[in-house]
């Protein structure tokens, strides 16, 4: 099967809307803690809605490439087989972990992903602040090995949709901690709050999609600590709510840097170095921020 018979994300849109209204209503009643800034909310929703435009423009090409790879597959996973769905659940989630980590650690891919982190809020509307430039960034290539293994393009698309829908509900401060067993295995609001935090201690951690086990396995897990509340946003927060700035600021910044580069090494540093890389090290990266934070903690310990 090539074309997915259902799109989990489209099916979930009414749930997204109702859940946002519910979160706002519960916060209004004082039953849960959350904050909404109307311009921030509007920007997040518009980013979610606008995501469809590049999807239409590039979706066909991405689908075509996936079909070509699928036609050269080494196995065939039957669409109706339960074992196939179990296998793709883990393999797609591992792929997502790799994609997400890559998207934070290298500037070219961070330029596409940064907009998801650009809100200083953490509420259900933040989940919809999705990239417009992921297709251009080419990270979709990371899912091609699944087609080569024999998972149909339809099955891959459905599992990607399930992952995206799962990740919606974890964008909330309304849920404190889930039961211990759940926190141990699954990505949760607590784990993902840490991922959206700009506190140096929390930077570049919890890349999980559905399962937090990958972060624990690959050493990027950081639990949320009561003594360190999350401060949301990016290291250098945006100066307004302009949606074009949200979508493109890092791309423009990267190309401006490239235009000033004095050597191929500098070009490569600006493109595939970590976000914040500069030839003289004068700008902050996650690593330098974490190192400074550790140094400041040291005398107290």
């Amino acid at each position: 099967m090539l074309h997915a018979p259902i799109d989990p994300v489209t099916l979930a849109v009414p749930f997204f809307i109702l859940a946002i209204i519910l979160e706002i209503a519960l916060a209004r009643l004082g039953w849960v803690k959350t904050h909404y800034e109307p311009r921030d909310t509007l920007t997040s929703l518009a980013m979610g809605l606008g995501r469809g435009i590049p999807g239409v423009l590039l979706g066909g090409m991405i689908f075509a490439v996936t079909v070509v790879v699928y036609n050269h597959r080494i196995f065939t996973v039957p669409f109706g087989a339960v074992w196939g769905w179990v296998a793709i659940f883990f393999l797609e989630d591992l792929t997502y972990y790799g994609f997400h980590r890559f998207s934070h650690e290298r500037r070219f891919w961070w330029a596409a992903h940064v907009n998801h982190h650009s809100s200083q809020h953490y509420n259900l509307s933040t989940a919809l602040r999705q990239t417009w430039t992921g297709g251009i960034a080419g990270t979709w290539c990371l899912w091609l090995p699944l087609a080569w293994l024999g998972f149909s393009p339809a099955q891959i698309a459905i599992q990607q949709g399930i992952s995206l829908v799962y990740q919606f509900w974890i964008h909330t401060e309304a849920v404190g901690r889930m039961p211990t067993w759940f926190e141990a295995v699954m990505n949760t609001p607590s784990h993902h709050r840490v991922h959206h935090a700009r506190n140096p201690r929390y930077l570049d951690s919890n890349y999980a999609g559905i399962l937090i086990i990958w972060d624990k396995l690959f050493g990027t897990f950081q639990p949320e600590l009561d003594e360190e509340p999350c401060r949301y946003g990016i290291v250098k927060n945006l100066g307004d709510f302009n949606i074009l700035r949200v979508a493109f600021h890092e791309w423009i910044g990267m190309f401006a840097d490239i235009s000033q580069a004095k050597s191929l090494r500098e070009v490569l540093g600006y493109v595939i170095g970590p976000p914040g890389w500069s030839p003289d090290g004068s700008r902050d990266t996650s690593a330098s921020l974490k190192a400074r934070w550790r140094a400041l903690q040291a005398p107290a310990e």
């Binding site: 904050h35 909404y36 109307p38 909310t41 401006a256």
Partner: protein, 110 residues
């Protein structure tokens, strides 16, 4: 989409933004610029921003919506920046936040 944003506006759930006092401005600057010593600091007239001097650097904090944005600039550039219509206008040379306006009727202050 507009309806959801309108509901969010109706609910008045923005973070409280009381005018900055000295302690709060210092706490926020310490979060933004860990380890940087402040030689002196000025809070803007409306309490929605602050400028601090740390050696050759100016540390700038200003409100955007119900959050704060921070940047640093060479002190000399900030000291020489103009006041227009009661606001200190700063060029930040950053696509993510090109300019900042802080309510200072006069600048520089001593």
């Amino acid at each position: 989409m507009l309806l959801l944003a309108a509901i969010a506006a109706w609910a008045h759930l923005a973070k409280p933004m009381p005018p900055l006092d000295g302690a709060e401005a210092r706490r926020r600057l310490a979060d933004e610029f860990p380890g940087k010593a402040l030689d002196c600091m000025w809070i803007s007239d409306d309490g929605r921003g602050a400028v601090a001097r740390s050696g050759g650097l100016a540390l700038i904090l200003y409100a955007v919506g119900d959050g704060y944005v921070a940047r640093d600039l060479p002190w000399d550039q900030v000291a020489a920046s103009p006041v227009q219509d009661g606001c200190l206008a700063l060029k930040l040379h950053d696509m993510a936040a090109p300019r900042a306006k802080l309510a200072f009727a006069t600048w520089p202050l001593n």
